[in-house]
C-alpha cells in the first residue's frame, strides 16, 4: 500500500512501474525478510500441509483432500510426466509434482486478496528451480549418454549433410546449454511480472479515477478499470496455472531428453 500512496500523492495519474516489485523489509532491520520471501515460505508451508493432509496416509478409496490432490497428481502424471518420460515417469513424479505444486502456489499468491504478490515475479525463485533442473539435466545426460555421447547427440544429430553441422552444432549447443535454462526461468518470471503489472495498473486506474480524483469525465474510466481488474484477475489465474504447467512440462522434457538421446 505504501507504493500506492506514493503514486497517488501527485496530481497526475502515474502508471505503476518497477517500484511495485521493490518491497521494504516487513520487520525494519531484518533486510532479508521481505514480502516475496514471506510468501515463498508461506507457499512452501501450504504445499507441504496440503500434500501431507492428502498423501500422508492415502486410502485406496480416496476421500476429501486426497481426491483433490490426486487430481493434481493425475494431471502432472498424465499431462507432464508420461508424454516426455514414458515408462520412467513414476521415478520423476516426486520432483515434477513438487515443482508443479510449488510454482502454482507461488503464482497463485498474485491473486490471493491482501497478499497479492506473485512470488515468481522475483526472478530469484524461478532461477533456483531452473538451475536445479539444468544441473540435473546435464548430470543425467552425462550419466546416461556418456560425457562425449551427451554432447555428440546434442550437437551432431545423425542423418544430416555434413556442412549443416557447421551451422547446427553451435546453435544446438547454445540453445541447449545456455538459452534453455535462461528461457526456462525467464518465461515464468516475465509472465508473472507482466501479469502483476497489468493487475496493478487496472486496479490503480479504478482507484485513482473513482476515489482519488473523482470527476464526471474520469468516473467511466475508473469503472472500466475496475471491470478490467476483475476480468484480468480471471485471466491471470489461467496464466498462473498455465505457467506452472509449462514450467514442470519443460523440466520433464529436459529430463527426458537427457535420459534418452533424441533425434
Amino acid at each position: 500500500m505504501s507504493t500506492l500512496t506514493l503514486l497517488a500523492s501527485g496530481d497526475e495519474f502515474t502508471p505503476p512501474g518497477l517500484e511495485l516489485f521493490d518491497l521494504p523489509p516487513i520487520i525494519p532491520g531484518v533486510d532479508w525478510f521481505t514480502k516475496p520471501v514471506l510468501l515463498a515460505l508461506l507457499s512452501t508451508l501450504i504445499v507441504v500441509v496440503f500434500c501431507w493432509s492428502a498423501f500422508a496416509n492415502p486410502k485406496i478409496v480416496p476421500r476429501g483432500v486426497q481426491n483433490v490432490a490426486e487430481m493434481g497428481y493425475m494431471f502432472v502424471r498424465d499431462q507432464v510426466a508420461r508424454p516426455f518420460l514414458g515408462k520412467d515417469a513414476d521415478r520423476w513424479m516426486g520432483l515434477l509434482l513438487s515443482i508443479f505444486f510449488l510454482v502454482w502456489i507461488w503464482n497463485l499468491m498474485g491473486v490471493v486478496p491482501v497478499l497479492q504478490f506473485p512470488v515468481a515475479s522475483h526472478i530469484a525463485f524461478p532461477i533456483v528451480l531452473a538451475v536445479s533442473i539444468y544441473v540435473l539435466k546435464v548430470y543425467l545426460g552425462v550419466k546416461h549418454q556418456g560425457p562425449v555421447g551427451y554432447f555428440k547427440n546434442m550437437m551432431f544429430p545423425p542423418g544430416l549433410p555434413k556442412p549443416i553441422y557447421v551451422l547446427l552444432a553451435p546453435i544446438e549447443f547454445l540453445s541447449n546449454m545456455i538459452i534453455a535454462p535462461f528461457t526456462h526461468a525467464v518465461r515464468l518470471f516475465a509472465n508473472m511480472f507482466a501479469g502483476h503489472i497489468i493487475l496493478a495498473f487496472f486496479s490503480m486506474v479504478g482507484f485513482w479515477f473513482l476515489f482519488e480524483k473523482l470527476t464526471p469525465l474520469g468516473a467511466p474510466l475508473g469503472v472500466v478499470g475496475v471491470l478490467m481488474t476483475i476480468a484480468m484477475t480471471g485471466f491471470e489465474m489461467f496464466i498462473q496455472f498455465l505457467q506452472a504447467f509449462l514450467f514442470s512440462m519443460l523440466a520433464a522434457m529436459y529430463i527426458g531428453n537427457s535420459l534418452h538421446a533424441e533425434h
Binding site: T3, L6, T14, G17, L18, E19, F21, D22, D31, W32, P36, V37, A40, L41, S43, T44, V47, V48, C51, W52, A54, F55, A56, N57, P58, K59, I60, A69, E70, Y73, D90, M93, G94, L95, L97, S98, F101, L102, H122, I123, A124, F125, I127, V128, L129, S132, V186, F189, F193
Partner: protein
C-alpha cells in the same frame, strides 16, 4: 518516480533480472523442503496406493468376471434341466394319452363284446323258448285234436244238445287248461 528509482538503486534491486541473494537462499530452502516432503516422502506413498488401487480394481473386475461366468454356467445348467424336465413331462403326457386311448378302446371293445354276448344269449334263450313253446304247442294241439276227435266221434250219434254241450265242455276245458297253462 525519481524517489522510487533512487529507493530501488539504494537497495540494489533496480534491474528485475538481477536476483536478490537472500531470495536465492530462501528459494533453495523452499524448494528443498517441498522436494523432500512432497517428492521424497509423500509421492511414493500415493504411488503405492495407486498401484494397490489398480490391483484392487483389477482383482474386483476379475472376481466379477468369474462370478458372472459361474452364474452363466449355472443358468445354462438350470435351463438344460428345465428343458429336459419339459421334454420328460411332454413325453409322459403323450404316453398317458396313448395309454388312456388304448384303455378306452379296450373298454369299448369289451363292452361291445359283452353287449354282443348278452344279445346272443338273449337270442338263444328266445329261440329255445320258442322251440320249447312250439314243441309244447304241437303236442298239446295233437292231444287236443285227438281228444276232440274222439269225443266228436264217440258222441256223434247223440243229440244236438249233447253235441253242443260237448263242444261247450271242450271249449271250457280248453279255456281252463289254457288258463292253467298260463
Amino acid at each position: 518516480m525519481i524517489q522510487a528509482a533512487s529507493l530501488l538503486a539504494a537497495e540494489g534491486g533496480g534491474n528485475p533480472l538481477i536476483p536478490h541473494t537472500y531470495e536465492l537462499v530462501v528459494g533453495v530452502f523452499a524448494f528443498l523442503v517441498v522436494l523432500v516432503v512432497v517428492g521424497k516422502i509423500l509421492t511414493p506413498r500415493i504411488q503405492k496406493t495407486l498401484v494397490e488401487r489398480t490391483e484392487a480394481i483389477e482383482g474386483g473386475i476379475q472376481k466379477a468376471q468369474d462370478a458372472q461366468a459361474e452364474a452363466q454356467a449355472l443358468l445354462k445348467q438350470y435351463k438344460d434341466q428345465l428343458a429336459e424336465a419339459r421334454h420328460e413331462a411332454s413325453r409322459l403326457r403323450e404316453e398317458a394319452r396313448e395309454q388312456g386311448a388304448q384303455i378306452k378302446a379296450e373298454l369299448r371293445e369289451e363292452a361291445q363284446a359283452e353287449a354282443r354276448r348278452l344279445v346272443e344269449a338273449a337270442h338263444i334263450q328266445i329261440e329255445a323258448d320258442r322251440q320249447q313253446a312250439f314243441a309244447q304247442l304241437r303236442s298239446e294241439i295233437g292231444r287236443l285234436s285227438t281228444d276232440l276227435a274222439s269225443r266228436i266221434v264217440g258222441e256223434s250219434l247223440e243229440d244236438e244238445a249233447r253235441q253242443r254241450r260237448t263242444v261247450d265242455r271242450f271249449l271250457e276245458e280248453l279255456e281252463s287248461s289254457s288258463a292253467a297253462v298260463r
